[in-house]
Symmetry: C2
Subunit: 160 residues, 2 copies
DNA sequence: GTGCGTGCAAAATCTTTGCATACGC
DNA sequence: GCGTATGCAAAGATTTTGCACGCAC
């Protein structure tokens, strides 16, 4: 209620998409669920948080939410389409805000230092869609993970 | 689901690439390591096994290898390039045989029933490579994961 | 008031590690 | 024989679940 986003989203949370979606399914808008989604909205799309990250960030914002509830809420928000779940190889799953302004995107991950960069590619999206349709699958989302070496790790010729 | 292991492997194990690679690094070719790689070779590329799967399949082939050793061996074989590690959303990592005949490939995963299909796309590979080079990354491997609905799950209109 | 959601702790998974023993080289 | 690898069990890390209470509706 106090936090306003700079983009042209509906200003009031009282009838936002979260509440609306929850009520449609007989679910409830709790402060915990609001806080978790607010966190993702405040940092914007493109940032990957683990459940533990969300827990810590909320603690630092004086919003204590139990880890169990965070896990339950993250699963819920993914099912409702507010978040995307990522499976990079960082140990444990990560989540990020789903956004229309920020369509399916892809990741370059340095296998040595873990540095992660994002990019978008309509070509990749189309290729995935065509492959899906060829065998009758209906595409929902696609993610290209590129395992690579970043510039500085190319220079440090450390053998893994 | 389970494929019978060939009892007579035609390969000569005495001077294969595994032994050669291990000896270069001062490591040893143990029966356990041989058995794990043999398993992947006998089922061929394109099959995704978890550590637990490998454990079970070896047990059924009368080759008991401890789970701890399987985890250690899988990591080793990935580092040595004999296996690829996949991160689909099936809970836990999966591994498959690396093969020159079977280049980087991509996965269509049905988010409802878990059915997984593979495809290859030179277009995707190129797009990943170009994106990597644009920011100075050196591409090693790329995997496109497409989350989708398979035909039968499209027909069962169950709301998740 | 009804019943969904939360917090807590315990349990369930999945993976790694310490240490004594076994064995490839 | 030397030193790496294995097996076992215990520890870690991550995620889920049972239960009683609280709170959104």
């Amino acid at each position: 209620m106090e936090k306003e986003l700079s983009t042209s989203l509906p200003l009031s949370h009282s009838d936002g998409p979260l509440e609306h979606g929850l009520h449609q399914e007989g679910r409830r808008l709790t402060p915990q669920r609001r806080r978790v989604l607010d966190l993702f909205e405040s940092i914007g799309p493109g940032t990957h948080l683990s459940a533990e990250d969300v827990h810590h960030q909320l603690l630092q914002a004086n919003s204590r939410v139990s880890l169990a509830t965070i896990y339950r809420t993250l699963r819920l928000l993914v099912e409702m389409g507010f978040l995307h779940e990522l499976e990079l190889s960082e140990g444990g799953h990560r989540f990020e805000l789903a956004s229309n302004d920020h369509p399916d995107h892809h990741h370059l991950v340095c296998i040595r230092c873990g540095r992660t960069e994002e990019f978008e590619s309509e070509t990749v999206l189309q290729a995935g869609k065509i492959a899906a349709e060829r065998i009758g699958f209906q595409l929902l989302e696609s993610t290209l993970n590129v395992r690579a070496l970043c510039p500085s790790c190319q220079n440090n010729n450390i053998i893994i």
